[in-house]
């Protein structure tokens, strides 16, 4: 009996250890497959060259255009999602009736369950033609439309997590503010938002990280031209789109093109890893504050 119990515990531990294997697998693959790339291309060139043309005859290996494309689309997404998501969180928390909140929250969360390829369709077929009414010079592929659509996708991420953070602020703070004669708006922005700031920051950083790693929306609607620009009306290529673009073609394993997707991958991993860990840091601080 006791041996059987030990064996079972061992098997359970083995299953749980798969998470460790996965983490090390990811690190191993990204490092070992991009290592040969960085032997041919110096880090200096990788980070300072302003062109990314590994698939052309005149090869340049500067990651900046891809990073710029990623940051531009993610920036637009956050510019849409943060004000709207935070306003919804405050509205549902301080203004709306509990019944309304109970109905609206799950409906908004539907936005987060829609597969991203479907959002890509939305950006390409619905939003881009609509925006062309206002910006006739804008092409079929651009940074603006997928950025806006990614923003819509991450609204529930920000609104739900921020609302939880606002809700967790002790009632006494809220009541003290109302007792001083403050309005709901003043209470929200001068008491609740500062008190819940860690939680709101966590939700925002996680949303940015999600947008940075998002693939299908940008692959469908942003284009496949590495473009070092801050103009949202131009087509851009993100890190993720580049990986998809190469994967769609027939790339010989071990070739330099094959290695570039791992070099792009490790850059993407580093970006999201830093963002995620900043959010963990804030999350920890947030917990310590009120418990």
């Amino acid at each position: 009996m006791r041996i059987k119990e030990k064996i079972i515990e061992g098997l359970l531990l083995l299953s749980a250890a798969i998470s460790i294997l996965t983490t090390f697998g990811i690190l191993y693959v990204l490092i070992s497959d991009s290592y040969p790339f960085f032997q041919k291309v110096s880090l200096l060139e990788f980070f300072t060259d302003t062109q990314w043309t590994p698939l052309f005859a005149d090869k340049h290996f500067g990651i900046l255009p891809l990073v710029a494309g990623t940051l531009l689309t993610s920036g637009i997404a956050i510019a849409v999602a943060l004000p709207i998501g935070l306003t919804i969180a405050i509205y549902l928390n301080e203004y709306a009736s509990p019944g309304f909140r109970k109905v609206i929250k799950p409906i908004l969360e539907i936005l987060a369950t829609i597969p991203t390829v479907v959002y890509g369709f939305f950006a390409l077929v619905v939003i881009t033609p609509y925006l062309q009414n206002f910006f006739p010079e804008m092409g079929g592929f651009n940074a603006l439309s997928p950025g806006i659509v990614m923003g819509i996708m991450i609204i529930p991420l920000i609104s739900s997590m921020s609302e939880d953070a606002l809700y967790a602020v002790p009632k006494s703070l809220r009541e003290a503010s109302y007792g001083m004669g403050a309005t709901r708006l003043q209470t929200s922005f001068r008491v609740l938002v500062p008190a819940a700031s860690s939680g709101i920051i966590v939700s925002t950083i996680l949303a940015i990280s999600r947008a940075v790693g998002e693939t299908m929306i940008v692959a469908i609607a942003a284009g496949q031209q590495p473009n070092l620009t801050a103009n949202p009306l131009e087509p851009v290529e993100t890190i993720t789109t580049y990986i998809v673009q190469v994967s769609l073609g027939d790339v010989v394993q071990g070739s330099l093109e094959y290695q570039t997707i791992f070099a792009a991958g490790i850059t993407l991993f580093a970006l999201t890893f830093v963002l995620n860990n900043i959010s963990f840091y804030f999350k920890k601080r947030f917990r310590e504050k009120y418990e």
């Binding site: 515990e9 693959v29 509205y91 991203t116 390829v117 939305f122 990280s209």
Partner: protein
């Protein structure tokens, strides 16, 4: 003083309406979106479309290969990810609460949950396709998605186990049951609803994924129906992606109709998950 007071009141009202506007914006986007998909796709959606193979002519093309591929992927991912995820959850919640390994595993899971899905595709391309030699098969695809959704299942399992009160455990031990007997006959049945909810949400995520599968080698265009885990395959989201990248209007309409099917699957699965969660929360009152 009273002037400032009324300005404050006005600001408060203005923000209230701004809040309503933002909420409506979110809902309106969802509505516009569903309307544009339904209005364009429904006329195209018929039996022929569901049961036909891909074709170079949009009016003859169908999504049968994609549907079969997606069902295979969902089934295999369930077979792989459910036992592993539930077992990990049980270990972390019931066995390894205070030890170092458990807390190290926890850090890993939290980090993995934030890794972009396309990175899992790169992992699979090197490990499953090349090192283990599984090729660009259904097995590779479902292993990739299993790793991707494991954190969801683990977290859901832990939450549901945590909700079972300690008195149940103690009562079972008092009757002479071992730890594993207690888990198997008492704790798991009591938390099955919550675990199922997490499992369905994880599988619905897997059905909608395409980026990691494209990277690990799923086919963009195929008219061969897979019949074995080692077969090549394509899935519904990839078929939609392929059609969206074609210039002909007919393929865009096809993509819209395929989106209705994909959304149907996703919404039904999420609906079941929500239903199970509500029923489970209502039924069990400790």
């Amino acid at each position: 003083m009273s002037k400032r007071n009324s300005i404050n009141r006005i600001n408060d009202q203005v923000f209230k309406w701004f809040g309503i506007a933002c909420t409506i914006f979110g809902l309106a986007m969802l509505a516009i979106f569903l309307y544009s998909v339904l209005s364009e796709g429904i006329p195209r959606l018929d039996w022929q479309f569901l049961t036909s193979l891909p074709s170079r002519k949009p009016e003859n093309a169908g999504i049968f290969v994609g549907i079969v591929g997606s069902l295979w992927i969902m089934g295999l991912t369930a077979l792989i990810a459910i036992p592993l995820g539930v077992a990990s959850g049980i270990y972390l919640e019931e066995y390894g609460k205070k030890n170092m390994i458990a807390s190290f595993i926890e850090i890993n899971i939290t980090n993995l949950a934030g890794v972009p899905s396309i990175i899992y595709g790169l992992l699979a391309l090197e490990i499953f396709v090349r090192v283990l030699g599984f090729g660009k098969s259904l097995l590779t695809g479902s292993l990739t998605l299993s790793l991707l959704v494991l954190p969801i299942i683990i977290v859901a399992t832990r939450e549901s186990l945590k909700a079972v009160p300690n008195t149940i455990r103690e009562a079972s031990y008092a009757l002479g049951a071992t730890k594993w007997q207690t888990i198997l006959y008492q704790i798991l049945p009591a938390s099955a609803g919550g675990i199922m909810t997490g499992v369905i949400l994880a599988l619905s995520r897997a059905v909608g994924e395409s980026a990691p599968l494209i990277v690990s080698g799923a086919l963009i265009y195929t008219s061969v129906i897979p019949s074995h885990p080692m077969d090549d395959f394509s899935v519904l989201p990839i078929q939609i992606f392929n059609w969206l990248s074609r210039p002909q209007k007919g393929f865009i309409v096809n993509a819209t109709a395929a989106i209705i099917v994909l959304l149907g699957i996703t919404f039904i699965m999420n609906g079941i998950a929500i239903y199970l969660r509500n029923r489970w929360q209502k039924k069990i009152k400790w």
